[in-house]
């Protein structure tokens, strides 16, 4: 039997923001077809980890290793990581005034294709994916994230996921700011994207997203570390008992 290789792996990752260490040594292996969730209270370092993995220059990885499909991500700029198949759905997507959703997506899709590749299928695909996320077609002509509501921004992030079809998707608080209907639509979009070839890492504060996108593993992050790991049941337990419960538990462990 051949050994299964992880699709995405990071080892002992430390992250600094402005001289402050916000992630102190986390490791994870995600195999093809898996969905993982990182849960944790505000300020636990979840978003910092996601940004650092994608290569945000404001977040420095001071120590550790990151591999996607065997490729060393830390040697690559964000654009190269993206082309290698890594994707980050932003918690706060930024407005790019004057650049339409369609033009931006066209540029991003084209970046993945051969120079002289025919783009004639682009519009059709875009329309189909927009339909899937209940985004009205005229939205394609709006400026990217410019004046979008919180929910609209999150849908557009998932539209990008659908169009770019990465190997590994990091979804940073994609559920925040969504009402229950929008949450379902976005979750369906994520599930449509998911296959046995790709991987998903959901980052969330709340359990409610996990009712619709079922994780195989849940990791609880606190003060820059993974403090507890478990199956989907852990998310339910957290919802019931709150993060304080984990806190107490880990504190006890330390005492022992």
């Amino acid at each position: 039997m051949t050994e299964r290789k992880p699709l995405f792996e990071f080892k002992n990752v430390h992250v600094k923001v402005d001289e402050t260490e916000v992630v102190n040594g986390v490791s994870l292996k995600i195999y093809p077809g898996e969905t993982h969730a990182i849960m944790g209270p505000n300020g636990s370092g979840k978003s910092s980890l996601a940004n650092a993995l994608m290569g945000n220059p404001s977040y420095t990885i001071t120590k550790g290793e990151v591999y996607l499909d065997g490729e060393n991500m830390l040697e690559m700029e964000p654009d190269k990581r993206s082309l290698a198949g890594l994707f980050l759905a932003f918690q706060y997507p930024l407005p790019i005034p004057g650049v339409t959703v369609a033009n931006f997506l066209r540029s991003a899709v084209k970046a993945r294709r051969a120079k002289d590749d025919d783009m004639s299928d682009f519009r059709k695909t875009l329309k189909a994916e927009m339909d899937g996320l209940s985004i009205d077609h005229p939205f394609a002509a709006r400026y990217l994230n410019d004046g979008f509501s919180g929910g609209e921004k999150k849908r557009i992030e998932i539209l990008q996921l659908a169009m770019l079809k990465p190997k590994m998707a990091l979804l940073d608080e994609t559920d925040s700011g969504l009402d229950i209907d929008a949450l379902k639509i976005v979750a369906q979009g994520i599930n449509r994207f998911h296959s046995d070839k790709n991987g998903i890492l959901l980052i969330t504060h709340y359990q409610r997203m996990l009712n619709y996108v079922k994780p195989d593993f849940v990791h609880v992050m606190m003060r820059g570390k993974f403090v507890k790991e478990g199956g989907p049941g852990l998310a339910m337990e957290l919802e019931e008992k709150g993060y304080e419960w984990v806190e107490q538990e880990t504190a006890q462990k330390v005492e022992v």
Binding site: G55, P57, S58, S82
Partner: protein, 477 residues
């Protein structure tokens, strides 16, 4: 530079060629007439004589030259660069060929080639109602669609305008921008040559734009075109001007005067895409008088040049008149774009909008200099001013000098000014989708310019995007 951003416009193909090869070439020319360098009354007399002008124009030129000599150089703006202009080292009049042509085939090969390379005959065939091409001091080619001519549209070079419609020219010439308006208006009034004369009779909607193209070819050339546009009651016209010049190490001067009159209920849009080489001083005076319920729009794109000083002006003279000035400026290495706008509300219920967008890159400097004045008796006016500056790189500079003189309290004013940098976070967002940093920056810049670009005819929007891409190459961000 890469593929993807070109998707912004599928037609953006020819990337990576610089100004030098696209516009910066020059022709070795035998001139029909090439005077000596320097400026004096003899030069003025000679120009007027060669043009066989009526005496009143000759006298006006001499008066204007005296005003030019008397007036000091401006003490505002970039005085350092201004004072580097060597007026004795400039040719004030160069006539490339004996007569103007109305058929491209008759234009000498070297000039035709120039305009071919610049895409002029092609644009004429595609979508223009009329074309005028000026080479150095004279318009060498001119044409107007037959149906427009039959409807009474007059579209001529200014010299022919003076010859054929002396009464109209005498009535309006210099009434909006008199010779003593400023030093450079005086210089233009003394040595003007070429430019455009347009008259649109009442009740005509000229749908296809009229275009003039200005090309400087010689070194140390001074180009002083003079334009007068009169649009009669209820008519509409869109006039476009484009400009380029070769790259030389010494400076040339472009000093135009543009006067426009929009009579009752008329509409004029004047679009400029200037793309001067970096050795051009571009010092231009533009002003429009707008009468009752008429609208004037200046759409002004300033690329290139060493120093540009240009503040298109709108005087709202009749009730219900509207004015809009939409300008962009791109200041790259060693360039100063001192551009802006002026609106004066003389009448009640008039409205104006100024939108200025500037990009400064490397050590380039973009200044917005604006004046909005509302007179005491002009009630219920609306004024909106928006200035947006984008800085690229640590040494880029932007300044804003807005002035408002509001002499009554029944006026609605909005004013916004913003300076932004291409934000790291924006770049990260775009690069995280697979765009290179250069592509991401270009996308942000093009997006910033979009409110301007979308106002241009498609062909010009494509050209402008291409020019910006050229300017952005090798950006140090």
């Amino acid at each position: 530079m890469s593929e993807q951003v070109r998707t912004q416009n599928e037609e953006l193909n020819l990337i990576g060629q610089d100004y030098e090869s696209r516009y910066g070439f020059h022709d070795p020319v035998e001139y029909f007439h090439k005077g000596a360098k320097g400026i004096n009354h003899e030069v003025v007399e000679m120009i007027s004589k060669m043009k066989k002008e009526p005496r009143w124009m000759t006298e006006r030129r001499h008066e204007a030259l005296d005003i030019f000599f008397e007036k000091p150089m401006p003490r505002w703006g970039n005085t350092k660069l201004l004072n580097e202009i060597d007026f004795d080292n400039i040719y004030y009049y160069m006539k490339p060929i004996e007569d103007q042509k109305d058929n491209w085939d008759d234009v000498p090969e070297y000039i035709k080639k120039t305009f071919d390379r610049l895409g002029i005959p092609e644009a004429e065939k595609k979508f223009l109602g009329g074309v005028s091409a000026q080479y150095e001091s004279e318009v060498v080619y001119h044409s107007l669609q037959k149906d427009l001519e039959d409807m009474g549209v007059i579209f001529l070079d200014m010299d022919s305008g003076l010859r054929e419609y002396e009464d109209i020219v005498k009535q309006y010439f210099g009434t909006i921008i008199p010779s003593n308006d400023n030093k450079f208006a005086a210089l233009n009034s003394a040595v003007w040559s070429g430019g455009t004369f347009i008259y649109i009779p009442p009740g005509l909607d000229v749908k296809a734009p009229l275009q003039a193209y200005f090309r400087i070819n010689a070194e140390n050339m001074g180009q002083f075109e003079r334009t007068l546009i009169i649009v009669d009651k209820g008519s509409r016209v869109h006039y476009i001007e484009g400009c380029t010049a070769p790259v030389y190490s010494t400076n040339s001067l472009h000093t135009a005067v543009v006067e426009m009159i929009a009579l009752e209920d008329s509409y004029i849009r004047y679009t400029t895409i200037q793309n001067w080489s970096r050795n051009i001083y571009n010092l231009v005076t533009k002003r429009a008088n707008v009468y009752k319920n008429a609208t004037v729009e200046w759409v002004d794109g300033n690329l290139g040049s060493r120093l540009t000083m240009k503040y298109p002006c709108i005087q709202l003279l009749g009730e219900g008149a509207k004015g809009e000035i939409l300008s962009v400026a791109f200041a790259g290495i060693d360039q100063h774009q001192d551009a802006g706008a002026k609106v004066i509300h003389f009448a009640s219920n008039t409205s104006s909008r100024i939108t200025s967008k500037s990009i400064s890159k490397d050590n380039g400097r973009a200044s917005y200099r604006g004046l909005v004045k509302v007179h005491k008796n002009a009630k219920n006016c609306k004024v909106s001013v928006e200035c947006d500056a984008l800085l690229i790189g640590e040494d880029a500079r932007s300044d804003t000098y807005p002035t408002m003189e509001i002499d009554n309290d029944q006026v609605k004013i909005e004013h916004e000014a913003r300076v932004s940098k291409v934000a790291e976070e924006q770049l990260f967002y775009l690069t995280s989708r697979g765009l290179s940093e250069d592509e991401a920056r270009l996308l942000i810049v093009n997006g910033f310019m979009e409110p301007f670009t979308k106002e241009l005819p498609m062909e010009y929007a494509v050209e402008l995007n291409r020019l910006i891409e050229l300017e952005m190459e090798g950006s140090i961000g």
